[in-house]
């Protein structure tokens, strides 16, 4: 860790003086309040819930990258499996005039298991995944709107396309999570937000959990500060 070995107080001072940027997003077209909002869709064969944990800086393979973190709950209410190719998970700015490049998903985790190829949801089951879309830290600031596109391949090869959009919560938006410290970093969430108040989360790697979890933790932002 880049913070390891430095006096804790100095580190805290650094952290407070230069808060890392953190952007929060809410779902377009869905009502939400104090807790994190989500986009949802369902038909007779499948259901999806997507929530956006916003964008933050973190380290991947020793490089600092800006990541948009989304969480998807996919439910198959049908007798055949559902396949979501990972290559079909695309994040972009829905504004045609935007110059921001579309991002392909960088990592997808189903609980403690990193996925490759596709997310397969067995018949009559539900799967929860964390999706990380990484861009160089030097990239432009995250756009005002984000669009997630994904596809679902049926057994007969037909592709069903889905998309959902999120908008950036303004600094004065009352639904934006408060700035108070996260007192339970081992839990990592407050009102559904992932490490709210933190703009730089440190190294991204799966953290072991002693208890059953719906969403796992992939960061330990206090790690460098405490020891």
């Amino acid at each position: 860790m880049m913070l390891r070995g430095l006096p804790a107080l100095a580190l805290l001072a650094v952290a407070c003086a230069t808060p890392a940027p953190r952007c929060y997003y809410g779902p377009v077209g869905a009502e939400f309040g104090d807790t994190i909002g989500s986009w949802s869709f369902e038909n007779k064969r499948e259901a999806f819930i997507v929530r956006c944990q916003g964008s933050y800086l973190n380290e991947v393979d020793g490089r600092t990258v800006r990541t948009v973190h989304l969480q998807l709950t996919a439910t198959r209410t049908h007798g055949e499996s559902m396949t979501l190719p990972l290559e079909g998970l695309i994040l972009d700015d829905p504004d045609p005039a935007s110059s921001a490049p579309a991002l392909q998903v960088s990592e997808v985790w189903q609980g403690p298991e990193r996925l490759s190829g596709a997310l397969v949801v067995l018949p009559w089951s539900r799967r929860v995944v964390d999706m990380f879309f990484d861009a160089p830290s030097s990239a432009s600031e995250p756009s005002e709107f984000l669009r997630l596109r994904f596809s679902q391949r049926e057994a007969d090869g037909q592709l069903q396309l889905y998309e959902c959009q999120f908008f950036q919560l303004a600094a004065d938006d009352p639904r934006r999570p408060g700035g108070e410290a996260l007192h339970d970093p081992e839990y990592g969430y407050r009102d559904g937000y992932y490490f709210p108040g933190w703009g730089e989360l440190g190294e991204r790697r799966l953290r072991s959990a002693d208890e059953v979890r719906l969403f796992h933790l992939f960061h330990d932002p206090e790690e460098g500060l405490l020891w």
Partner: protein, 626 residues
């Protein structure tokens, strides 16, 4: 299989011209004397044919030259012990020729206004009709001259009008068809007995040849439990029970001499129902084929609850298999009739809504009795399940199930509740109702749970936090008080220091109000045995105050907790030695029912439990000791 009696086995022997020599002699006598004479002649003929046990009548009326009428005719079964046909009047219509021989032609036999009571099997029906034919033959046998050598003669038609046909089961009336009629008539080389069941019951045709009853045919025959018994053992009674007979049958039933006849045709508007089938299947069209002892019924896919369904029946003399395939069927609570224990409990209530797949096979082995072996698998999506008494609703529950023998297995089920979710697996023994359940709760909103479980407390003293845990339990659905289990429960990012019990503890310690902070945590390890919930380890971190201990909750809800209380001005980050030096440690005992808890606090110096408990407590929250 019925064998037609010899007297009516050869149509040639059934003359259509009747010599009434005896009757002609009587024309010189009085009409009353003529009646008696004719009556005696008929009785004599009945005796000659050996039918005196089966056929009787009270009197005879002559209406010459038009005919003769037998009054109060009774036709008994072969043993002569039970009347199967009772007729008010049996008219024998004649065309008398006043030629030299004074011959009369038998134009027809016409019965009216009686009752037919039979056990509905092919055998008994065949016997009855054969007996009717014997009656005709008896009458025809009065002829011995006029039609001698007349090869063109036909059996005169035998009509029964306005009959009350009663189908019997175990000697009790099962079904009643008033206004029925029966026609027995020569049809080329066969004699056909056509039964038109009154009330739109349809038609049954029995065809007799030289070898007896050769085939049956149904035309738009309304299926009823009684009619289905015509199929005979072993399938008749089973199908009568299984199919809750309903529909109309157009069938040809042949090869009656075999153990199992051949049947071809269609049953329309059929409904298949059974206590082992979650919902009645149908109405549907069942193409039916029974050849060489093998029964095959396969339906076309038909719409079912917004989905589709196919049913297939395969059978032999040894057994019968019913396979049902349902795809994307709309979920209805009535489906859970498949699981008898569902109807016996009042904790879980599924609402209509959602969909399901089901592949179900029921196999009857006739040697093993009427209970089928059940196998199957499927998946389900139930939009809402209410947990009665808890005020909680589980949303969008999806899972898979397997049925094998008497085990119902759910390898995976997930659902949404209180902003979080749950996953689980389990199995249920359908024979003894014993169950096993492995349930994980994931990030449930404590505020939501409190709002459902204790809405009044939620208004007065709202709690917050996120609940996770895992429970393994087993027991008997009929005796949930004896359920056994173990598990762990955690509340994270919580605010529950103002809960009733912790407030009482604070008051006993004369501590100030609890801090309103959202970083409080709780971890508990639990055991359930014989109705007693044992808390092996309870650790509560309220920030500047922490509790650790153990205890139990009795069957009647009484609490008995032993806790160590620690005040942690510097949190849990110091060294163990520093912890002991700096922290206040008290012993707290909480007893009594939840509504009237009694909290006792003991001085630091009399702590009776080893300090290891405090060390263990720290290890709950930290991966490594300082």
């Amino acid at each position: 299989m019925i064998q037609k009696k010899a007297c009516c086995g050869d149509p040639e022997s059934m003359r259509t011209a009747l010599s009434l020599g005896a009757l002609a002699l009587a024309t010189v006598g009085s009409w009353w004397a003529l009646d008696d004479l004719a009556s005696d002649a008929v009785r004599e003929q009945i005796q000659l044919n050996g039918l005196e046990q089966q056929l009787s009548f009270s009197g005879l009326e002559l209406d010459l030259p038009r005919g003769v009428a037998l009054l109060d005719v009774a036709l008994a079964d072969e043993t002569g012990s039970h009347d199967v046909v009772q007729l008010s009047r049996l008219d024998i219509d004649l065309a008398v020729g006043w030629d030299e021989g004074l011959t009369a032609e038998l134009m027809g036999i016409d019965g009216r206004g009686g009752r037919v009571a039979i056990v509905p099997t092919a055998d008994t029906l065949g016997s009855m009709v054969a007996s009717l034919i014997d009656v005709i033959a008896t009458i025809v046998d009065l002829v011995d001259e006029a039609s001698e050598g007349d090869d063109s003669s036909d059996l005169p038609p035998l009509w029964f009008h306005d009959l009350d046909v009663v189908l019997l089961a175990d000697s009790w009336p099962l079904e009643n068809y008033p206004g029925s009629q029966v026609l027995v008539a020569q049809n080329g080389q066969t004699i056909d007995a056509t039964i038109d069941f009154g009330g739109g019951g349809g038609r049954l045709v029995l065809v007799f040849g030289s070898g007896g009853l050769e085939r049956l045919a149904t035309e738009d025959l309304m299926l009823t439990p009684g009619i289905v018994r015509l199929i005979g053992e072993p399938w008749g009674p089973l199908l009568a029970r299984l199919t809750r007979p309903q529909g109309r049958a157009d069938l040809q039933i042949t090869a009656l001499h075999q153990d199992l006849p051949d049947i071809h045709g269609v049953i329309r508007e059929a409904v298949i129902d059974s206590p082992l089938i979650p919902v009645p299947l149908g109405p549907l069209t069942l193409p039916l084929d029974l050849t060489a002892g093998k029964l095959s019924v396969t339906t076309e896919p038909w719409s079912f609850n917004e989905g589709s369904m196919v049913a297939n029946i395969e059978g032999t003399a040894e057994g019968l298999d019913l396979a049902i395939t349902i795809r994307d069927g709309g979920f209805q609570e009535t489906l859970l009739g498949l699981v008898p224990v569902y109807g016996e409990q009042d904790v879980v209530r599924c609402r209509d809504g959602g969909q399901f797949d089901l592949d179900l096979e029921l196999s009857w082995d006739f040697d093993l009795g009427a209970t089928p072996a059940v196998t199957g698998q499927g998946g389900f999506h139930v939009q809402a399940i209410d947990l009665e008494g808890l005020g909680l609703t589980l949303d969008d529950v999806v899972g898979r199930l397997e049925v094998s023998g008497e085990r119902l297995v759910v390898p995976e089920v997930t659902g949404l509740v209180a902003e979080g979710g749950f996953t689980g697996s389990g199995e249920l023994d359908l024979a003894d109702n014993r169950f096993r359940l492995d349930l994980s709760l994931k990030e449930l909103n404590l505020a939501d749970l409190q709002g459902s479980l204790a809405p009044e407390l939620a208004r007065e003293n709202p709690l917050a936090g996120w609940v996770a845990g895992r429970v393994l339990c087993s027991g008997d659905m009929d005796n949930l008080d004896q359920m056994q289990g173990r598990g762990e429960l955690a509340i994270r990012a919580g605010r529950f220091a103002e809960s009733r019990m912790l407030t009482l503890i604070r008051q006993a310690l004369t501590l100030g109000p609890a801090e309103r902070r959202n970083d409080q945590r709780l971890v508990a390890e639990l055991n359930l045995w014989d109705g007693i919930l044992t808390i092996n380890q309870l650790s509560v971190d309220l920030g500047l105050l922490a509790l650790t201990g153990q205890g139990r909750v009795d069957r009647d809800g009484a609490l008995d907790l032993y806790l160590l209380l620690m005040s942690e001005p510097e949190g849990v980050l110091g060294s163990l030695w520093g912890f002991i030096q700096r922290n206040l440690i008290c012993e707290v005992q909480v007893t009594g029912p939840f509504e009237r808890l009694d909290v006792a606090v003991f001085p630091v110096g009399v702590i009776s439990k080893p300090l290891q408990a405090a060390i263990d407590f720290l290890s709950v929250w930290r991966d490594e000791d300082p």
